[in-house]
């Protein structure tokens, strides 16, 4: 794990000496210069190194996920560097831990941002919400590990894959298509207060209306881990299926309670609502029987060649680490960042502006780790198609694929009309 500190100061000093420009000011520090190879450079780029930043959670509630993403992205950097780097420069990733604390994250960003070209990882919706305006003003190309539609519309911020609302549309589509829900039926939606839940609810409500279903809402907080009351209420409303946009603990409680009460309806969540650790809780059999997960990236146990190679490389490098969805999503983000860096290098411009421009010029990116991505419109997510997977104790990463990437009906129109 790399931490900044005196080394950061050393890097800053070196950068200062090399570039001969002011360094350390927050904001659009263009540090304009040109490398020996004629490529225009700015913050985070020297003649032999490209420095990227990661704001992650290694000590907070998403510590397990954070560690997976950090490991996976470091694995990518090591592989790239072994092949000669990008643009003749080595990739270095500076990692800062914020412990899912917005205040710490803001401080960490202020320290990190002057010295990095881009950020392939920022964990946590509240963290990204707090930083999005600074990131946009500084022009630091950022791939957040958060998927709220409110992050769309920023040139420098790229939501990778589908937003929470599209995931829930996909969930409703699955319920109608495969689980026999019909017009007039009710579905429950249990969701966290805040951006994640609110955005998910927009999607479920929209898709339910289109399919003639009614949504029964149950709002909860992150500290609610016993969902007995919610299940009882939903059962009283006679819902035929339940959507849940919360954390893994809430999903486990919901499904466990429902199964114990003989309320065996299908339950669908999105990626943040599941973690492989749940398969060690008493709710495991119920989860396997009732739960499906909508996710922008395929299951880690997918047989896509690139995914299998990643899992093999990862388990060789980190034999004791858990392989979860963070490994794939982190690695995927890093590879996509690498592709945009290469494009910027080809255009001869490795400044922040150059990188954002190169990134936004790409509308068909397929790195073999999931559905193709279109980065050309900042107001739209990079894909409208998501996968459907289910818990599986015997599979790598605790999940196995059920349906391939698919765009739910009406998703493109919905996405285009968003924000109007």
């Amino acid at each position: 794990m790399k931490r900044t500190g005196s080394r950061c100061a050393a890097v800053a000093l070196t950068a200062l000496a090399l570039l001969g420009t002011a360094c350390g000011t927050k904001g659009g520090d263009d540090g304009g210069g040109q490398g020996a190879d004629g490529v225009a450079t700015g913050p985070g780029v020297t003649d032999d190194t490209i420095t990227l930043g990661a704001l992650t959670d290694l000590t907070g509630p998403y510590a397990t996920l954070g560690e997976s993403i950090v490991n996976a992205q470091q694995l990518w950097a090591d592989q790239i560097n072994a092949d000669g780097g990008i643009c003749g420069r080595d990739i270095r990733i500076e990692v800062e831990d914020h412990g899912y604390d917005v205040q710490k994250a803001v401080a960490a960003y202020a320290q990190l941002s002057p010295d990095v070209l881009a950020m392939p990882q920022v964990i946590g919706s509240p963290v990204v919400d707090a930083l999005v305006d600074s990131i946009e003003a500084d022009g630091v190309l950022t791939f957040p590990q958060a998927w709220s539609a409110s992050l769309l519309g920023h040139d420098a911020v790229q939501v990778l894959g589908t937003t929470y609302d599209l995931d829930m549309m996909r969930a409703v589509d699955f319920l109608v298509r495969e689980q026999g829900l019909a017009e007039g039926d009710r579905i429950g939606h249990v969701y966290f207060e805040g951006e994640y839940g609110a955005n998910a609810l927009e999607g479920s409500t929209h898709a339910a209306r289109a399919a003639g279903l009614t949504v029964v809402e149950q709002k909860i907080k992150a500290t609610d881990t016993d969902l007995t009351a919610q299940v009882t209420a939903l059962r009283g409303e006679d819902v035929r299926a339940v959507l849940i946009s919360a954390g893994p603990a809430q999903t486990a409680s919901l499904v466990g309670v429902a199964a114990a009460a003989g309320f065996e309806v299908p339950v669908v969540t999105s990626a943040p609502g599941f973690a492989p650790q749940l398969l060690k809780t008493p709710a495991a059999p119920a989860l396997t029987a009732q739960l499906h997960i909508v996710t922008a990236i395929p299951s880690v146990s997918s047989d896509l060649p690139a995914v299998r190679k990643l899992v093999a490389d990862y388990t060789r490098t980190y034999p004791d680490a858990l392989v979860d969805s963070g490994v794939l999503s982190g690695y995927n983000a890093a590879v996509l960042m690498g592709e945009s860096l290469k494009a910027a290098c080809d255009a001869g411009d490795l400044t922040r502006e150059g990188l954002v421009t190169a990134h936004r010029s790409r509308d068909q990116v397929d790195v073999g780790l999931g559905s193709p991505q279109d980065f050309s419109d900042a107001a739209q997510p990079s894909s409208t198609a998501s996968y459907l997977i289910r818990p599986d104790r015997d599979a790598v990463g605790g999940t196995t694929g059920v349906e391939d990437a698919r765009t739910p009906p009406g998703a493109e129109e919905f996405s285009a009309s968003r924000g109007e």
Binding site: T59, G60, P61, Y62, A63, T64, L65, E193, V216, E217, Q218, K219, I220, K221, A222, T223, D224, T225, D226, L227, T228, A229, Q230, T232, A233, R235, G236, E237, P248, A249, Q250, A252, S253, G256, V257, A259, A260, A261, G262, A275, Q277, L278, K280, T281, P282, A283, A286
Partner: protein, 296 residues
């Protein structure tokens, strides 16, 4: 109808667990006039110890050891940290418990990280069906054990020397000390008992309908705060009554969320505090609190 019964039973089960925590608040308050803000992290400590010990020792020994260890830690907090302080400065001691809470919580959260730990309780996800109502066995166990433990504590208040000393100390510390009550010992025992109750509460808070122990589990202790306060901070039966009231209110507010949606979503989280405020408006000393005689 079954729904209403379901909700009521769930509320009572929740209330019985809150009661274990609230009773801890009250005992410490009676013994020393201090609000113990570290109750949540003591709860987390108890749960964490049970979780890490149960695989080697088996469930029951692990639980007993965890309860004993948490009682010891709570007792030590009193002996080591609070002993040297002037006991009349309740507010300073109270703020010190916030410090203890932050220290304990930070270390435990670091150890637990993003994990979800199971405490290895024997009930798993079994359910009982009584008169058409399905109840998780762990809930029945929670109500039974809480009733037994709380009954024992109440009996101890009434029939043991310690109970008498505690009641005397809560009436008038100075007079009690003059009568030969060893205030320090009464207080340390009160802390240890509160610690033990918190560790036991951790078991039932993380058992089946909940998925397991998380780093945030201790925050649930905050819900026992309004319970202790609305019961009248120094009254153990009041804490019990308050806890049941809070548990049932919370279950009702969540269970009838759709019907109550005019008041906004997520009412269940606010409801305990609403009830507390309403009760305190009507009865400023709490449900069973006693008015302090103030000499004018």
């Amino acid at each position: 109808m079954t729904t209403a019964l379901d909700i009521l039973l769930n509320g009572l089960a929740l209330g019985s667990v809150y009661a274990l925590v609230a009773l801890g608040f009250v005992i410490i308050f009676k013994a020393s006039g201090v609000m113990n803000f570290a109750q949540g992290s003591l709860l987390l400590l108890g749960g964490y110890l049970t979780a890490v010990l149960h695989e080697e020792l088996g469930f029951l020994p692990a639980l007993l050891l965890a309860v004993a260890a948490t009682a010891l830690v709570a007792g030590l907090v009193d002996r080591v940290l609070l002993r040297g302080m002037d006991p009349r400065h309740h507010h300073i001691l109270t703020i010190m418990t916030i410090g203890v809470d932050i220290l304990l919580l930070t270390e435990l959260a670091r150890r637990i990280g993003g994990d979800l730990l199971t405490l290895g309780d024997p009930w798993g996800n079994d359910v009982l069906t009584l008169a058409g109502v399905t109840v998780p066995t762990s809930r029945v166990a929670s109500i039974t054990v809480s009733v037994l433990v709380i009954g024992t504590v109440f009996a101890a208040f009434r029939h043991t020397d310690w109970g008498l000393s505690l009641r005397a100390a809560s009436e008038d510390q100075e007079a009690a000390a003059l009568m030969g009550v060893r205030l320090g010992r009464v207080r340390t025992l009160a802390w240890a008992l509160a610690g033990a109750l918190a560790a036991l509460a951790a078991l039932f808070l993380t058992a089946f309908p909940a998925p397991g122990l998380e780093r945030t589990t201790g925050q649930i202790a905050l819900k026992a705060f309004p319970a202790a306060i609305l019961g009248g901070m120094a009254s153990p039966p009041g804490a019990l009554l308050g806890s049941l009231l809070i548990g049932v209110t919370e279950a009702l507010a969540a269970g009838y969320q759709s019907e109550l949606s005019a008041l906004g979503r997520g009412l269940g989280d606010v409801a305990p505090y609403l009830v507390m405020i309403v009760v305190l408006l009507v009865r400023p000393h709490g449900l069973l609190g006693t008015k302090e005689a103030v000499r004018v």
